[in-house]
Symmetry: C2
Subunit: 495 residues, 2 copies
């Protein structure tokens, strides 16, 4: 391979390792461009160095002149090389980044302070582990029927459905949710109030973005749902823990003056995790005071579809006309978590003000899945599935409380078993719950330590949150015996 005039030793690297010709003309150009770029960046081709003419280089490499011209054009557009009176030259690149030396301490930029406030000891475990809270009965989900709805949506929706959708979600799904909520939860709203979100967590973030400013105060339940802290920290809110008792969130009157909240987060129908029901009196007072102080209330109604004794507790959202309540719901518990679909019901008075903002923030999407879900709801399959799951969870709740009564030999009490898919086993502080939870994890059990839900040190908040949604009742006796053992060894100082 002859080296013609003007082709200096700097380009030897191109000749020494031949180009891979097995993949056609375009990959050849890419390879050449990449090698030339690298040589410019690492200094093998220094600034001002002249490159051979395209004909010369093409001949030397045995590729077409057009390919070389295309690569020169590209590197010219990218600013690596530039034309000059003496032909093409390597451009002046000031301060090319050096490869860092092994012993050189590189300055890694810091993460945001708001990130540092996100709690990092969150509960996380395999969905398949026994007694994991928050997981519905996955094996009982009518997956084949769901698949048919998804297939139908893909088959029947027009091509336009591949494009961006309405920011607040598919109208058909919002209508379906509206009807379901009216029937099951006593929520009264119009379709304009319903916004489809990526699950409940996304709905919380949306509330934070729309309604709060950095440094604003937000009240949260303590013990409470940790996920809300992640949303509040991301919005730079000041989270103030509020006590919870047997009647739910308990707000001292003075707090309205001393720590006036912009936002209150509450789980009124089945307090997470204790299961307390926020009484009507407290609900009404909360709404009235919130109106007075310009406060927004987020009602997270995460599992109220499954009430085991008597009729369902009504939602707070409809307790008073145009209450300043944002109702948050999710299909993660009623259908399946991977669906990632939830919704927000806005107060009527917010619909118009936030519309232009939602048009910016939300993109619409997952349109076929939304249409499939609308179909699943409207065809009655959702209602039938809910009914079946309500019966199943009631059976499992009964079986678990019976098994605990039969097999636990340590003093304990149980709360929160009236609805949902979990209950709370309260234990004396002599049996530290984090030790029990850690030991349980090694036996493929995933109860959550109750103390994880505590924002302030509180020795009496000690126990286990036991999920019975996805664990069959046949296993409860042996699981409870195992738990009893683990609880007892935790008192001896752990394993």
């Amino acid at each position: 391979m002859a080296i013609e005039e003007g082709f200096g030793p700097q380009l030897d690297f191109l000749l020494q390792a031949p180009l891979d010709r097995s993949r056609g003309a375009e990959p050849l150009q890419r390879q050449l461009a990449r090698r030339l770029r690298e040589a410019v960046l690492d200094g093998r081709l220094p600034s001002g160095c002249r490159l051979p003419g395209s004909r010369t280089l093409a001949a030397a490499l045995g590729i077409s002149r057009n390919s070389v011209t295309a690569v020169y054009d590209l590197l010219g557009a990218e600013g690596y090389i530039e034309p000059s009176r003496q032909g093409t030259r390597v451009a002046e690149l000031t301060r090319a980044p050096r490869h860092p030396q092994p012993n050189e301490q590189r300055k890694v930029p810091e993460l945001a302070r708001r990130s540092a406030r996100i709690p990092q000891n969150h509960y996380r475990a395999e969905s398949s582990y026994a007694l994991k809270p928050g997981v519905p009965a996955l094996t009982r989900f009518p997956h084949a029927a769901w698949r048919r709805c998804v297939e139908r949506a893909h088959r029947e929706a027009d091509t336009g459905t591949l494009g961006y959708g309405p920011p607040r979600g598919e109208p058909a799904l919002r209508t379906a949710i509206l009807r379901h909520l009216a029937l099951a939860r006593g929520v009264r709203c119009t379709r304009d109030q319903v916004v489809i979100t990526e699950g409940a967590q996304d709905a919380l973030m949306l509330c934070v973005r729309l309604l709060t400013d950095p440094g604003d105060t937000a009240w949260v339940e303590d013990p409470g749902y940790r996920g809300v802290q992640t949303a509040l920290a991301s919005g730079d809110l000041d989270a103030v823990p509020m006590d919870v008792d047997g009647a739910g969130l308990r707000v001292p009157d003075a707090a309205w003056r001393t720590r006036t909240p912009r936002l209150i987060y509450t789980t009124p129908s089945h307090q997470y995790p204790t299961g307390a029901i926020l009484t009507a009196g407290r609900r009404l007072e909360l709404i009235e005071k919130a109106r007075e102080h310009g406060t927004w209330i987020i009602e997270d109604d995460y599992d109220s579809e499954f009430r085991h004794s008597g009729a369902p507790i009504g939602a707070m959202q409809s307790l008073a006309p145009d209450a300043p309540v944002l109702y948050v719901g999710s299909f993660s518990k009623t259908l399946f978590p991977a669906l990632r679909m939830g919704f927000l019901v806005l107060p009527e008075s917010l619909v118009e003000p936030v519309k232009p903002l939602l048009d910016q923030i939300l993109r619409g999407g997952h349109r076929h899945e939304q249409l499939a879900l609308a179909d699943f709801v409207e065809s009655g399959q959702f209602g039938r599935h809910l009914g079946r799951m309500r019966r199943l969870y009631r059976t499992r709740r009964d079986a678990l409380t019976a098994a605990l009564a039969a097999h636990l030999t340590v003093p304990h009490s149980i709360t929160g078993s009236e609805s949902g898919m979990h209950l709370v086993l309260h234990l004396p502080p002599t049996h530290p719950d984090h030790l029990i939870a850690a030991a349980a994890r090694e036996r493929r059990m995933a109860p959550m330590a109750l103390s994880l839900c505590s924002l302030r040190p509180a020795p009496e908040v000690n126990g286990l949150v036991l999920g019975y949604g996805n664990t069959p009742e046949s296993r409860y006796a042996s699981l409870c015996r195992e738990l009893d053992e683990l609880i007892k060894s935790s008192a001896r100082g752990g394993r």
Copy 2:
């Protein structure tokens, strides 16, 4: 129907409108509970009012005593009624919310200040309108093949896939993206660096949440992509507009000292909307200075898969080892917008620090869709579709530039046609672009006014962003003639 002792006139409302018995026992309980709640809330049943015994009420209503007991239990749990020595009484509910009077000005709490900073004059139009930028060729998407991938994912994934997934996304998809990026964009990374997001907008928000604090400075291109302002406003960042010229983002040296950024947002391979390519020299300088100042660079590589002349421009992410660059990509343009799937490639040094945060912020989900996409990529269907679309968009680009040259009679210039699915038609300030865009909308054309991308008043930023992705070339001649007419009438002061 006999009224027994203790059953006062307050309960007449229950007897006057009979319960609807057509739907079984549970709906009966719900109806009774709802009516009693309403009567308590609106004062028909005042505080302290005694309720009849369950036997008496059951007999009067002709329902089972168990039903009444269940409803009393429920309302007791909810705090509407309470036991007393004289039987069940209505609870003391302080300050029940009044129905607002029609002439009463209700205090509507204000929206957040951060919301007020979200730009509200965003471009929005039907996907089906001609020349709309940002919409890929929807009719050419191989929907049937995609559907088969979705169906297979639903059929083959195990039941556990219905549960929560890995926060950063399905490993199979992250591996597929990794391979695609290495080949198509020269991005070098490991699977740990790849995070699946809800499209590019969600990736931007994630960067803001992880890396910035309120009040931090962020540099954005001007003219530039408006969506980034929404993300920055939500994070309370101070967006500083930076000029763009023919070589991309132009940063005056002094700005590094006077307006030191925490974040820089840039579209280096095809500046949005002008189409300028950020030169290698500027890229290297940006990286070097960013390192020096602890700044993060977001590289939004929104449509670089479609380069019409020569090989693709390489990504900035791999220009220097462990550059402080977060690479953002999306499948909205390469597949379809409603898929809502995008990704973020973290710098290596960020992977470990942000892992615990991502575990909190991200929930995993859309797992079947992610597995379907991994399948679509790995089976080569994605690559073939990209190839077809590259050829199609090149043809359309050529046809549109030819039609503009043939039919536009007003002075103009064109930039940004080297890649992607849109080009910019620059017009003299005598023809205000917002008038043209508004008039075009009435003829079902959706060019975007270039001035919408401008952050600061700039009369020379005037023109139309024309998308050719989803508009067939057979229409270009007549569309360009129509546009010419509209442009000319805009100069006469609009319609």
